[in-house]
Symmetry: C2
Subunit: 257 residues, 2 copies
Amino acid sequence: MQVRNYGRKSMISKSQISFVKSLQQKKIRKEHGLFIVEGLKSVSEFIQSDYIVDTIFYTDNVISKLGKLSHNIKAIEISTLDLTKISALTSPQQTLALVKIPAARELTPKLLKGSFTIALDGIQDPGNLGTIIRTADWFGVALLICSENTVDAYNSKVVQATMGSLSRVHIAYTNLDKFLEDIDIPIFGAVMHGQSIYKTDFGKEGIVILGNEGNGISPEIIRRIKYPVTIPRFGKAESLNVAVSASIFCSEIRRNL
Amino acid sequence: MQVRNYGRKSMISKSQISFVKSLQQKKIRKEHGLFIVEGLKSVSEFIQSDYIVDTIFYTDNVISKLGKLSHNIKAIEISTLDLTKISALTSPQQTLALVKIPAARELTPKLLKGSFTIALDGIQDPGNLGTIIRTADWFGVALLICSENTVDAYNSKVVQATMGSLSRVHIAYTNLDKFLEDIDIPIFGAVMHGQSIYKTDFGKEGIVILGNEGNGISPEIIRRIKYPVTIPRFGKAESLNVAVSASIFCSEIRRNL
């Protein structure tokens, strides 16, 4: 895997195939500090970002579509059949990259000053987290803070659902309860019985907490909320999907800024 | 399957198992006029709705939790193993019902007067359609009109993602282009380059069109739009998830009503 092989298909060994597949597991991702990104568009966006791309597996000579690659990136052309073997997608998309998980930056309350941050307390569904990251990127929310029991952002399904936005939104995992203790900007929480979001003045800075799909925000985090906020219900659904709630919060914050 | 068997487990035959499983296919659903609903909460909501529940398979004596059942409903207790065989879920949830697909009501422009309706042009992802139905139910949107190439609302993944809301939101499939021709209320469309949604006055009635995940609204439908509307972008994501867009439209319409 040290040599570039432009123009001819390399063999990918059985052990390489099983290594890439093993990166579907969080434990193995942590151990090797690598995660999987699939698809030309997403891989391009990671190449252009601050992330370090380690290896690119590609088919059909698409490497030229990825632009100029740094010399540190291993680029390996493989057969479509081999791509199918390492891909987590039903329809593999010509490119699969192994990207380095960035070192955790120190998370200080100062980082949050003057902007809006989303905090997630125990989100479990990869599609939901991915959609929230994509929505945060659309609305210019640069930082997402996740409780330690939130699904791993480097899970392939999350990465896929972000549509490349993971390369631009900073994700930090932390002890949310402890972190919120020291926050000196307004703490908003999405709850069932709070003030109407349409009557809430979010001001210029703050943190918005969204909770688990089934149970909402956990009791220890609830007590950190200064401003409980509700999206009013006009019909009969019991709840909103959490990625939908997050997007309505992002929209309301931006419409008033 | 004609006799009630409260209190003892029935056998479910191989052909019954394969019949229920075959309802995962749209063609078979159409042929038999039945679709699958899973989980106690969702099944309860269909029982309480205008839908006709045909058969309920249940485990662990949970039938008592479903309230009073009409005598036309076949209720069959089966083993957990058999439920696993007929369920489409990774973790089957004690109940699986076969529910009748309602006859298509005639869709007239008059039906839309005085309220807001969402129209979907070619939505493909079941999770997206399900989330849109759930969101419509939250915001009191009673009618969802789908183009004929939109994913089937009675697909199990859609039903699951609606969290019971499918029992309350009316879904109509139609030739969207032809239907829009006769509409005399404002037609809004979610597009990339329109007026800001935050500056749009939706008024008291209208139809909001949302397009396919990859390609947006198709050219023939685009020309029917009177008011092209955009959710402004503040960051760098290329697009928003369509269920997220739909929810922001619903929220903006309601906040101003």
